[in-house]
Amino acid sequence: MSVEKVIECCNLTKKFNMKTALNNLTFSLDENKIIGLIGRNGAGKTTFLKTCAGYIKPSAGSITIWGEKVFNNIDVLSNMIFVDEEIQYDTSSRLKDIIDLGKTYYKSWDNKFALKLARYFNLDLNLKYKKLSRGMKTQFNIIMGLSSRSPLTLLDEPTLGLDAAIRKEFYNILLKDYMENPRTIIISSHLLSEIESLLEEIVLIKEGSLVLHESVETVQEYGIYLNGKKDIILPFIQNKEVLNVEVYGNDAVAAIKNDLNKNETTYLSENSIDISKVPMQDVCIFLTKSKREGGFDEFEA
């Protein structure tokens, strides 16, 4: 059975005055998956999601959703929802009025689910939106995002401002709802370690460019740590794709791409070099590292 492509970008570029937010992004995403959009602050994640949501136009290149251009396309827009922390509902509206609006706007809106979530999160629907705390606003935005049951759901830092317990609950609810109502969900988050278990694919962006687009399993196997004597490690990694190196006196910890052959593994093992998997979060951090060498202590302004 062929899998439909939901998002296809070709040389997608977006410039704001002098700054290039998206730089020749070319990739495509399959439908009915939970995809993580990962990158540092200012990498272009939000710009990409806003372009998907039809808020901004590409400066060059193209982006299509279900084969259609997004900008001003009501048929595409009616089948997606974008949730971020900057969402502004009418502040004088009550929550139940906003939920009512969701019901009128979205064909696939599940009102029962929305009310259930509101009760679960202890949100009083008679409250006005402006009276909510930051955390409650985030919870409400999540309710709107999930209840729309839109075939394409874009969540930009959906758990910002939530405590760890609520975040965990949200992930459980999201996963359960996704299993019952499969759709394409793109989540951008800094807390990769928390959402790792949810994701099926990772799109890693650095300074508007695509670094990596792989399945979660591939990224989990992407890198390995070599931990041992620096006299062994440093010469060994000369011809390797190095992700990161830290030297502590006579010892060193190097993160390299996981492409060791059997002989190399034996050599390292014989020289008491400890080999371990690089966590996915660390892989992403290393791949999106800036060109500056060293940490803050070595930094010269």
Partner: protein
């Protein structure tokens, strides 16, 4: 769900209609507060005038007379014109635009929704004004029944009410369209619009012909003697202004 296939089958108007209906509902709901404030103020003004009249009756000396010229229709129209113009201006602000685009909407529906809701909103405000006017007439008649020295003159009748309602609606459409169009261009480029306004102002002070041009524009609308032609001019200009406002909206980016 095979959305790709669905989207390729053109003639898919359901999304447009749903989005338009929802957007109009959103605009009217978010202006509920303005309606309540306006109704309260106008009702208060009318009650205040009635009370003043009663106080004059009670405390005035012999052989003196007083006139209370009032009219919910008069005060109501002026209040609505100001409120609607300001609301239309505020509606074009970035914050309000961002709120409008939270839900699925494209720019065509946004512009069309604004136009339709300006008609509906004006109509609702004028209906409220009319209802308060009916209340005023009822109260006037009641007080005239009770007090011997209260003369109630009602200048409102069907032959002036209905044409007046439609002319008032037409003027409201013009004021709203002008504010909205100005707001859209101002938000897009504050500096250029301010510079143009300043330039026109300086020209008007320096030379007579810009002043004359402004007077001619004023005369074009306010000196028209025929009701039908007046309404045609007002509605026509309002629609042109809405179309002009759509030009920058068409490619407007939101939430930037």
């Amino acid at each position: 769900m095979n959305l790709k296939h669905e989207l390729r089958n053109k003639g898919y108007n359901e999304n447009n209609i749903r989005s338009l209906k929802s957007y109009i509902k959103y605009i009217l709901k978010s202006n509920k507060r303005s309606v309540l404030i306006f109704s309260s103020i106008l009702f208060g003004v009318v009650l205040f005038n009635m009370i003043i009249a009663l106080l004059i009756i009670k405390f005035s000396s012999s052989n003196s007379s007083s006139t209370v010229n009032s009219g919910a229709l008069m005060s109501g129209f002026i209040s609505v014109s100001i409120m609607a113009s300001v609301s239309a201006l505020v509606w074009t602000s970035k914050a309000e635009v961002n709120k409008a685009f939270v839900f699925p909407i494209n720019r065509q529906i946004y512009a069309l929704g604004n136009f339709i809701s300006s008609i509906m909103g004006s109509f609702i405000f004028l209906i409220i004004t009319s209802l308060i006017s009916i209340f005023e007439i009822l109260m006037g008649n009641l007080i005239a029944m009770i007090f011997n020295n209260f003369v109630f003159i009602n200048e409102i009748n069907m032959s002036n009410f209905i044409p007046g309602f439609f002319v008032s609606l037409s003027y409201l459409m013009l004021f709203i369209a002008a504010s909205y169009c100005f707001g859209v261009y101002f938000v897009k480029n504050k500096i250029i619009v301010s510079a143009i306004l300043g330039f026109v102002f300086i020209l008007a002070i320096t030379f007579p012909w810009p002043r004359q041009a402004i007077v001619e524009v004023f005369k074009f609308f306010f000196y028209e003697k025929s009701i039908a032609i007046s309404c045609l001019k007002l509605w026509g200009t309002a629609m042109i202004l809405h179309i002009a406002a759509f030009i920058p909206v068409r490619s407007m980016e939101v939430k930037v």
